[in-house]
């Protein structure tokens, strides 16, 4: 039955990839289409409001600058709100202004679509901060990532020299994708009994006569954008394992699909942009193959459970249920874990800290790769970067200098890509080593030994991949962790974003080389294999030594 549950979700996803990918393509191809009639008037109002008059395409530099400036303004406003929330209205619980390193970490966490939470929502944020900072950034960070991905795809596929207009993309991502989708999912979740109310906490008297406070609130709306925007910051501390956030297997499936559909549909949209749908399917199948590999691993590992406990004679027929919800069981938990780190959402419906070591390796590895579907736009951009790398390495073997989608890959692109592939291991392994070298870092580890190594690696991998899920168990609200993860999140997001936009700009300006029978093909199964090989050898092997010391050593030494 477990496999059937998983298979159904996969089938629904694959069936929806084409219609959603087509819709995304129509939204951003900027050609006239039916959605204009619905959204056009509202968008025109917004354009007037923000004073956007020219929709001319931007150079990559203008695009990157627009992205950065927009984000800087959001960070500035958000930071001030968090620091001064005690002075601002809508603060019934009288919550204090946020401490500066925590505010730094929090604002970066949300602007980078990471949603790493070193604070606790109930006690750390006023309602105003929740709405004006957290909720808003869940939309804007997702829209930013999505716009950059679309711009990158345009750079690779368009024959012009422009990669689009950021402000137009940014507005459209909101009006045509995130807001309608969030409204839709909210309504469905409400229908499935997820609370959506502005009432205050309910105080009830239990059967034993004690009083209990049950926290409620506008949960459904947050759940919707939390997943659609691959954000991951939960309403409650327990995130999607909380029965009010995720009451049933059906809501679980809806949440899985809402975070997975857009990243999975982007390769198809890319195929449409490139004028060859096979290009998109190749990228999709490479992502799906890697995903299935990870899903199988975590599913088998969790089903088998901990061999030491099994030997004690404890009934393990259900698998390793520690830290999991009975209403989801192993299949729905394993699938959720694989998807939330693949799509770099970071929401959890089970505690990753208590996964079996090999089970815990899966979310860790998916974040280290950051290409298995990936968060809003990031996944496809990274995967296409690996595609360029794969073309560069193997493409020479057809006896031509490497070209991708009709553009030559030359020193300039390789320099930019070199920066991106260099930064990712640097910001995961570097801070991890520093954490182990200093008392500041080591002091926070609650679970010494190999598991402690996994905890630290996970924290930085989650930050670098802008995932935001926590392995938990790490006492991370200290200046060291706040600042370290803050910097990692910033670099993880913007260094690759700018470098890849530069690649897009450089490729877009290049003379297009016509395809012949002698051209290296990137739209067949062989290339999907090369792509997977490149990801595994360049992306994965880098982390092998560290991973061997973490989860693998832990698994081998279970006793």
């Amino acid at each position: 039955m477990g496999i059937v549950q998983i298979a159904i979700v996969l089938i629904v996803l694959i069936l929806l990839v084409k219609p959603i990918g087509t819709y995304v393509y129509h939204v951003f191809s900027n050609k006239q289409n039916r959605s204009d009639a619905v959204f056009g008037p509202f968008e025109n109002l917004l354009y007037k409001l923000i004073g956007l008059k020219s929709f001319a395409g931007m150079t990559w530099k203008a695009y990157a600058l627009s992205v950065l400036l927009t984000n800087v303004v959001l960070v500035g406003i958000g930071y001030i709100v968090l620091r001064t929330q005690n002075l601002l209205p809508v603060n019934p619980s009288g919550i204090d202004g946020m401490e500066e390193t925590l505010a730094f970490n929090t604002i970066i966490s949300f602007v980078t679509n990471t949603n790493l939470q070193h604070y606790s929502g109930e006690t750390g944020l006023s309602y105003f901060s929740q709405m004006a900072v957290i909720m808003m950034m869940m939309f804007t960070s997702a829209a930013t990532g999505f716009s950059v991905a679309i711009a990158f795809i345009r750079g690779l596929t368009s024959r012009g020299t422009t990669i689009g207009n950021f402000f137009q993309d940014f507005v459209k991502a909101h009006t045509r994708i995130f807001i309608p989708a969030a409204v839709l999912v909210t309504l469905v979740l409400v229908a499935l009994q997820v609370p959506q109310t502005l009432q205050s906490t309910i105080n009830v008297t239990t059967l034993e006569g004690d009083t209990q406070s049950i926290a409620i609130g506008p949960v459904a709306s947050l759940e919707a954008i939390k997943h659609i925007g691959t954000n991951g910051g939960g309403f409650f501390g327990a995130n999607s394992s909380h029965p009010f956030e995720n009451p049933s297997p059906l809501t679980n499936v809806i949440q899985i699909l809402s975070m997975w559909l857009l990243p999975a549909a982007l390769p198809y949209a890319y195929g449409l942009f490139s004028g060859n749908r096979k290009q998109g399917w190749v990228v999709f199948s490479a992502m799906m193959t890697l995903f299935l590999l990870f899903l199988t691993t975590v599913y088998i590992a969790e089903t088998r459970g901990n061999p030491v406990i099994n030997e004690l004679g404890i009934d393990a027929s259900q698998g390793s249920m520690e830290g999991k919800e009975v209403r989801f069981g192993i299949p729905q938990s394993a699938l959720f874990t694989a998807v939330t780190t693949a799509a770099t959402t970071g929401t959890v419906n089970n505690m990753h800290d208590t996964l079996t070591p090999i089970g815990g390796l899966v979310p860790l590895a998916e974040m280290m790769l950051n290409v298995v579907f990936g968060g809003k736009g990031v996944g496809i951009v990274n995967m296409l970067m690996y595609a360029i790398l794969g073309v560069f390495l193997a493409g020479l073997m057809v006896g031509r200098t490497p070209e991708f989608l009709g553009r030559k890959i030359e020193p300039k692109e390789m320099k930019l890509i070199a920066i991106v592939i260099l930064v990712h291991p640097l910001i995961i392994l570097g801070p991890t080593a520093i954490a182990f070298l200093t008392e500041l870092g080591q002091g926070s580890i609650t679970n010494p030994g190999f598991h402690g190594i996994t905890q630290v690696l996970y924290e930085f991998a989650s930050s670098a991949a802008n995932n935001g899920s926590g392995f938990e168990g790490l006492a991370d609200n200290t200046p060291f962790w706040n600042i370290a993860t803050g910097i990692v999140m910033l670099m993880g997001r913007y260094v690759s974003m700018i470098a890849m936009l530069a690649v897009a700009g450089s490729l877009a300006a290049k003379q297009w080389v016509p395809e012949t029978i002698g051209t290296f093909r990137t739209d067949n199964g062989l290339f999907a294999g090369i792509l997977i090989g490149t990801v595994l050898i360049i992306g994965a092997l880098t982390f092998l030594p560290a991973v061997v010391l973490g989860p693998i050593a832990e698994q081998l030494t279970l006793r």
């Binding site: 193997a394 020479l396 073997m397 030359e410 070199a418 080591q442 190999f450 190594i453 003379q511």
Partner: protein, 676 residues
């Protein structure tokens, strides 16, 4: 290709390369290759630890450290040796060239006399006399005379070639020898800039600049090296938390195994050897970039004559038109060809001799010969009695006849087309205002060309045939040869137009040429192959010169270019794929002492941690010299579709790169564990 060049891999070169590989250990030259520089830095650290074990608290590790040091040192030497060997072959060729250059004396014409000066004092514009048995002192154009010249010093071809003033065979190269007759040469290059000087600097590799693809690959290799450096540097703190202490030599061993030393060590050798292969093929490329561009060619423009067909179009019939008789026509055809040294002209006289045709040769006495010109496309004679005899392309002759007030016989057009449609070339013969008829010239496609064009199509290369023939003739030959497209009645301007048109579509174009009027097109093309027999202007404009003057070699040059790129790709893929096995050798070995359970990862079942590390390191070192022959020879390119080619190479070098080290490391370990 000749034996003299092939035999260049002599013991002397190998010896010099061995010496050079030590000289190249100099860090200042090593830093140009970041991958190997990291290896050298690691070697130095291990050396220090071997010499001063007390200082590094590595007393018990002496034997192990010494072994690691030696293996690392040999890794460096092997990489240096590969490069030195490739360079050595070029240097040996350069030396042969330098000998032929040497100091020689020139008979410079000063005023009305002749002054003997050393060749180094000659400047552009000087005029010298070279007699039989003397060396030509510098590059130049023959301004007077005709001579046979022995060019074996540069072409390796022992048969002398005829050079004469005027036309496309007037350029001579310094360092070649006149074997008969006497010529007057105007020097066209200053000392140090001559063709031989350029050739020496090219084959020596002294001015070798990295190609864009090499630069990009270098960037990638450097960043991979940096990534693995980060991996290794961050490992000890993480490991020490897990209670594993890692020895520095072990870390260096892992680093060296992981960074792409195989391709890093062989990259420049591949580039130099690629150029060398072109040179051995008797083609001089002005840059590695040109060779690489050859691999990328989409469109090839080939002259019909001499490349696709033999070009010696032979007269095979005389077809009179109007009311002229065949013997009248034959007579005028012969007279028009009396002084015509083109193969067509000679073939007319030859045909007359063979068929016993009669003509009055005395008519041609003291007549003025009008040579063929690309613009008029006619040649002929202006006789002493004032009559003008012309033969040439039908269109041109028609125009000329009409201009001189004559009428065109009705059957000219029809008979001309009949010849053309059979693949022949009609040459019209006219005297003043009257057209006598047509000479039927037959042209034959060289054997094997059809198959070559089929191969080019499989490579994705489009072939365009250029010919001065009329469209019908051109179409027949094009069909017979199997080219994709043709340009009939083409002028040099047409060629440039075609090149531009193709380039605007993003295509890379290759062409051959020898005449001065080809020069602009040669310069415009991405790969321009000039014939050595051609004019200096053509050679100057081209980025490759074929010393054998065989235009069909362009096809082989493309193959060599593709081979060069494939070799680079194959070794890169192989090198990176090797990492998988190395991880599985070293990672368990590193941690097994502290975490015995890591033995599970020891999939190769290697003897001991020390032997595992040494075996991986040894494999890493030995694979470099083992691949030197492949790097030098290059991966052979066989025409087939890119998908097939990729599948094949991916299987050989990708999958092979994954599997070979597993076997290699295991085999080495079986021997190494006897000692360790």
């Amino acid at each position: 290709m000749n034996e003299q060049r092939k035999a260049l891999l002599t013991p002397a070169i190998i010896k010099n390369a061995a010496i050079d590989s030590f000289k190249k250990l100099n860090p200042m030259s090593m830093i140009k290759n970041p991958v190997m520089f990291v290896v050298e830095a690691g070697t130095f650290v291990v050396l220090m630890m071997t010499i001063f074990p007390d200082y590094f608290e590595a007393r018990g590790q002496f034997g192990f450290n010494l072994t690691v040091f030696l293996i690392l040192l040999f890794t460096l030497l092997f990489a240096n040796f590969a490069e030195a060997l490739a360079e050595g072959r070029g240097k040996a060729q350069a030396d042969t060239l330098k000998k032929s250059k040497g100091e020689m004396m020139a008979n410079k014409i000063v005023g009305s006399g002749i002054k003997v000066v050393p060749s180094t004092e000659l400047r552009k514009g000087d005029v010298v006399v070279v007699a039989s048995g003397e060396w030509i002192p510098g590059d130049g154009e023959i301004v007077e005379g005709l001579a046979s010249v022995d060019e074996s010093a540069i072409t390796g071809e022992s048969a002398p070639v005829i050079k004469e003033a005027g036309g496309d065979f007037s350029s001579v190269t310094g360092g070649t020898r006149v074997v008969s007759d006497r010529i007057v040469v105007r020097i066209t290059s200053d000392p140090g800039e001559s063709f031989i000087d350029r050739m020496i600097s090219l084959v020596e590799g002294a001015k070798r600049q990295k190609t864009p693809n090499e630069l990009a690959l270098n960037t990638l290799l450097t960043s991979l090296t940096l990534i693995f450096f980060i991996v290794i540097v961050t490992l000890p703190p993480i490991a020490s938390y897990a209670g594993v202490d890692l020895e520095v030599p072990v870390l260096i061993a892992l680093l060296v195994c992981l960074i792409p030393t195989t391709i890093g060590g062989l990259l420049s050798a591949i580039g130099i050897a690629g150029m060398d292969r072109v040179t051995q093929f008797n083609v001089i490329a002005t840059s590695g970039k040109a060779v690489e561009a050859a691999g990328d060619i989409n469109t090839m423009i080939l002259d019909k004559t001499g490349t696709i067909t033999y070009g010696n179009r032979m007269a095979s019939a005389f077809i009179p038109v109007g009311d002229a008789t065949e013997s009248e026509l034959a007579g005028w055809a012969a007279i028009s060809s009396l002084l015509d040294e083109t193969p067509e002209g000679r073939s007319v006289l030859e045909y007359m001799r063979n068929t016993g045709g009669q003509y009055s040769a005395e008519l041609g006495e003291d007549a003025v010969f009008i040579p063929f010109q690309a613009e008029t496309r006619m040649s002929g004679m202006d006789l002493v009695d004032g009559r003008k005899v012309r033969k040439g392309a039908v269109d041109s002759v028609k125009k000329w006849v009409t201009a001189s007030g004559g009428t065109i016989p009705k059957d000219l057009e029809e008979k001309g087309n009949a010849i053309a449609s059979k693949g022949g070339t009609p040459l019209a013969v006219a005297v003043d205002g009257r057209v006598y008829g047509l000479i039927y010239l037959k042209d034959t496609v060289k054997p094997g060309m059809r198959e070559r064009f089929e191969q080019l199509r499989q490579m994705g290369i489009k072939t365009i045939m250029c010919t001065g023939d009329n469209p019908l003739t051109a179409a027949t030959i094009a069909l017979e040869a199997g080219v994709d497209d043709f340009i009939a009645e083409s002028t040099p301007e047409d060629k440039i137009a075609v090149i531009r048109r193709e380039q605007e579509q993003g295509k890379l174009v290759a062409m051959t040429g020898d005449g001065t009027n080809d020069a602009p097109a040669l310069a415009q093309a991405d790969v321009g192959l000039a014939m050595n027999s051609g004019t200096a202007a053509a050679k100057e404009a081209a980025n490759m010169v074929d010393l054998d003057s065989d235009p069909s070699k362009l096809i082989e040059v493309v193959t060599i270019g593709k081979g060069l790129l494939m070799t680079r790709g194959a070794l890169t893929t192989f090198s990176i794929a090797n990492d998988i096995a190395k991880y599985f050798a070293i990672i368990p070995a590193m941690f097994m002492l502290a975490i015995p359970e890591m033995g599970v990862l020891n999939v190769m079942n290697l003897g001991s941690p020390a032997s595992a590390i040494l075996s991986a390191l040894l494999f890493n070192a030995i694979i470099i010299p083992l691949l030197i022959p492949l790097a030098m020879r290059g991966v052979r390119y066989q025409p087939m579709s890119a998908s097939k080619l990729l599948g094949r190479n991916m299987f050989l070098y990708g999958l092979g790169g994954v599997i070979v080290p597993f076997i290699g490391i295991k085999a080495i370990d079986m021997i190494v564990q006897l000692w360790v």
